[in-house]
Amino acid sequence: MRRRAALGGLFAGALLTPRASALAGLLRVNRRPSEAFTLPNGLQVVVLPSSRAPIVTQVLVYKVGSADETYGHTGIAHFLEHMMFKGTGALAATEFSRTVARNGGRDNAFTDFDMTGYHQTIASDRLELVMRMEADRMINLRILDGELRPERQVVLEERRMRVDNVPSEMLDEAVREQLFGLHKPYAMPTAGYADDVKKLSVGDLTAFYRRFYAPNNAVLIVAGDTTAEAVRKLAERHYQPIPSRRVEPRQRPAEGGADLPQRVIRADARVPEPRWNRDFLAPSYRGGETRHAHALLVLTRLFGGSETSRLSRALVAQDKIALSATSGYGATALGLTSFEIAVQPARGRSVVEVETAVGDQMKRVLDGGVTAEEVERAQNQLLASAIYSQDSLASGPRLYGNALSTGGSIAELDNWPQAIAAVRPEDVVAAARHVWRDAGAVTSLLTPAEGWK
């Protein structure tokens, strides 16, 4: 299953007594300061000042995504995201992006299971311009049938490009349907089922917009060459006049698919070499047994996160069963998430060989435990990747947007390095025992048309 990257974290000052000197060094790096406040209408605002370049990034994340759709109306969150560029009373269709480009900036948007985000990067003295336009379309969007009809074709082409043209993505949809339960949140594709997208109307989109697009259901992040005071003044001018609205709390199922374990096979003439995957239902920072989340991040690093991980050493380097063997886990979600193991078999190796080898490695973790050295190495990697993320202007808004739109808090982000550093070997084993269960697993095979022995 395709994963988003695991949640990284910004850094807090020295704390905790780290067990090892390398870890201590990484923990001591100062975090970049953030400032946060909430407007009276409920809009949460985070400012991440950085004077590295005279540019700012505005990100507005709505706490709504494709997991908030209902079966028969899938694809609505994503279709609405496209229509957000099609004009308001004040701004003609496509003028939003044209205006940003005309001012030397760039803009885009994204839709995910739990969130929908809109972002622009532009010279810092143009912040008010993009803020005025973003606030305008929060309340004044005008969805017209004449604009909706050609855009529906664009949305369907996007689905063809991202999903229908890519066999592994089509399998991914089928795996999610089993893992999270048919027609349930996280099982319904973000791109929507094509049959649903073909039927969505102006009324459907308008109703969804009215239901979820409100200041009290959004997070505004401004990063770059500005100050909290400047952002507050502009936000009060442009976002504050928008009235809050009652938005029902979002629900995510506590359980996954009803009938697990399952096996899903996709034989496809477009597939040259087989792939083997196993996905397990897993807790996130917010859903399920959340106390395992940080340990799962450590587990996935040491089990299948690099070429020195257990899976890669055993299956690729030693036994030459696989060309690659990896694991993946991301903890940022409002509901349950998944822990994935993926193997690209070496030529001529059988399904049984792959499954036996993976099973053996899992058993070694569960029965034999993990070493303190392995855990520390994984922790070092996680903390180092967070330091590298400070070197990028884009990563801060992404991090805060993901966390705050899925029920996380700034305090949790600040404490992330300590939470990672506190994971002990026995926590990793306990997390593996919790997640690696047949009753939460979907095994999937992507094979050439003639199958895989």
């Binding site: 060094g25 790096v29 004077s51 590295r52 370049a53 005279p54 540019i55 269709a93 496509t94 992006s97 044209r98 480009a101 005309r102 001012n103 030397g104 900036g105 760039r106 990067t121 010279a123 810092s124 143009r126 009809r149 050609p150 855009e151 529906r152 074709q153 664009v154 949305v155 082409e157 996007e158 063809r160 490009m161 229908d164 043209n165 890519v166 066999p167 060459d225 477009r270 597939v271 040259p272 070499e273 070429e307 020195t308 690729v316 380097a317 030459k320 060309l323 690659s324 690209q344 070496a346 030529r347 190495r377 070092n380 990697q381 180092a384 330091i387 590298y388 400070q390 070197d391 202007l393």
Partner: protein
């Protein structure tokens, strides 16, 4: 003022922010004579290095296609006393990212490190470029991965379109070769061939280095001599042959069972050092450089024929192309092509003053938006050196773009947008297009 800030100012935010300082990209020459461009920036404890050796896949020997790529991928698979696992472990323990890859004209490398681990990181770089091991079991694994990668690419419509386009436009020229190799050749490559190739690529002659981040000139100089100082000087390399651009229109269809066809159009463009280069950059932007472009408006916004449609200039030492890329459901391909081609013809009549003004504003400012991280700045400085641009190019770029006039764009449009030189590739199941050549 930090480096990214003055780069951004130089790159054209002068238009909107007050321009304070000129960019100072330092040139460092080490005691052993290695040259590098450096920008210091200590706002994060990170250093990024982007470098290259002056020979790439276009110089793969006959019947050894893929040799340079395979060699590059093996450089981090064990060196000196360290086998592959020990090498990777050292990288991970010091949080060093080191990787190599081959493109047509060079073998590129990137090194990213935390400044606290400078010595460890540059020592790993030294080992990788001076004493790579090429252990037989790693060679077999990389070989198998490359062959599997080729099979997978052969099923991705966009990859097939790209490959088919290069093979068609550059038929008979080294640029037509696939940097990832040919299956039959990859199967027969030997360790001695790999070692020979490494020895001929990894030399100081033609080495290009760009460094950005938390490191000063003296320290960089010391570390570069440590890493690269042990390499042989190497001989001058023969130039690649000249390229004869196509003079007849061609359409190549490749059948694939996919719902969305991948479409590429290529036109021979103008060399990177042509006086009209910046006019061509403006032209490509107005044609398909973003959401305000003519193609986006006509193909996507008005007609819903595609999700993605864009155009861009690509240049190598011996060739440059203007490429248009899109993807449409099979039954819409003919319509997409018709609209794109009529836009190419229409653009020969020139652009409006408003289009020109907006393109200039965007192009002057947008490069600054790419300065996201030390690594992206290092890549930019590396590319400028590959393109043989002067060190103060970033200072001058806004003025070069600003000087482009409507008549320049019209002139360059007539030089480039010539239907008789157009090559079209469609991969998928298009309805209503016919192939003028077999793939």
């Amino acid at each position: 003022m930090t480096v990214l800030r003055w780069l951004a100012l130089a790159l054209g935010f002068a238009l909107v922010a007050s321009r304070a300082e000129a960019v100072e990209v330092k040139e460092v020459t080490t005691p052993l004579g290695i040259k590098a461009w450096l920008v210091e920036d200590s706002s994060a404890p990170v250093v990024a290095l982007s470098f290259s050796f002056a020979s790439g896949s276009a110089s793969d020997p006959e019947n050894q296609k893929g040799l340079t790529s395979l060699t590059a991928s093996l450089l981090t698979d064990g060196a000196g006393p360290l086998d592959a696992q020990a090498f990777k472990q050292r990288q991970e323990d010091a949080s060093v990212a080191l990787s190599f890859g081959a493109s047509l004209e060079y073998v590129g490398g990137s090194l990213r490190l935390l400044s606290a681990h400078r010595d460890k990181a540059f020592e790993l770089l030294r080992l990788a470029v001076t004493t790579p091991r090429f252990d037989p079991d790693r060679v077999e694994q990389r070989r198998a991965q490359m062959i599997a990668g080729l099979s997978q690419a052969n099923q991705r419509p966009a990859s097939v379109a790209q490959r088919t386009m290069m093979a068609t436009v550059f038929a008979g020229h080294p640029y037509g070769a696939n940097a990832s190799g040919v299956r039959e050749n990859l199967q027969t490559l030997t360790v001695p061939q790999i070692k020979d190739r490494a020895a001929s690529v990894l030399t100081r002659n033609g080495l290009i280095v760009a460094a950005v981040g938390d490191i000063d000139a003296a320290e960089l100089s010391r570390q570069l001599d440590r890493a690269f100082g042990g390499l042989p000087a190497g001989a001058a390399r023969p130039a690649l042959p000249d390229w004869m651009p196509p003079i007849k229109p061609r359409t190549v269809n490749v059948e694939r069972p996919v719902p969305q066809s991948s479409v590429l159009i290529a036109l021979p463009a103008i060399p990177r050092d042509d006086p009209d280069w910046h006019a061509a950059v403006v032209l490509a932007h107005i044609l398909g450089g973003g959401q305000q472009s003519r193609l986006f408006s006509e193909v996507r916004e008005k007609r819903g024929l595609a999700y993605s449609v864009s155009s861009a200039l690509r240049s190598q030492r011996k060739a440059s192309l203007l490429m248009v890329a899109t993807g449409s459901a099979g039954e819409k391909v003919a319509d997409s092509l018709r609209v794109i081609k009529s836009e190419l013809v229409r653009l020969r009549e020139g652009v409006t003053d408003q289009e020109l003004a907006e393109a200039k504003t965007y192009l002057s400012g947008s490069l600054a938006l790419l300065l996201d991280s030390s690594g992206s700045v290092a890549n930019l400085l590396h590319t400028l050196q590959v393109d043989r641009q002067p060190r103060d190019y970033l200072d001058r770029r806004a003025a070069l773009i600003g000087a482009v006039k409507a008549e320049d764009v019209r002139r360059v449009a007539r030089r480039i947008l010539r239907e008789e030189a157009m090559t079209t590739v469609v991969v998928g199941r298009p309805a209503g297009t016919t192939s003028t050549a077999e793939p």
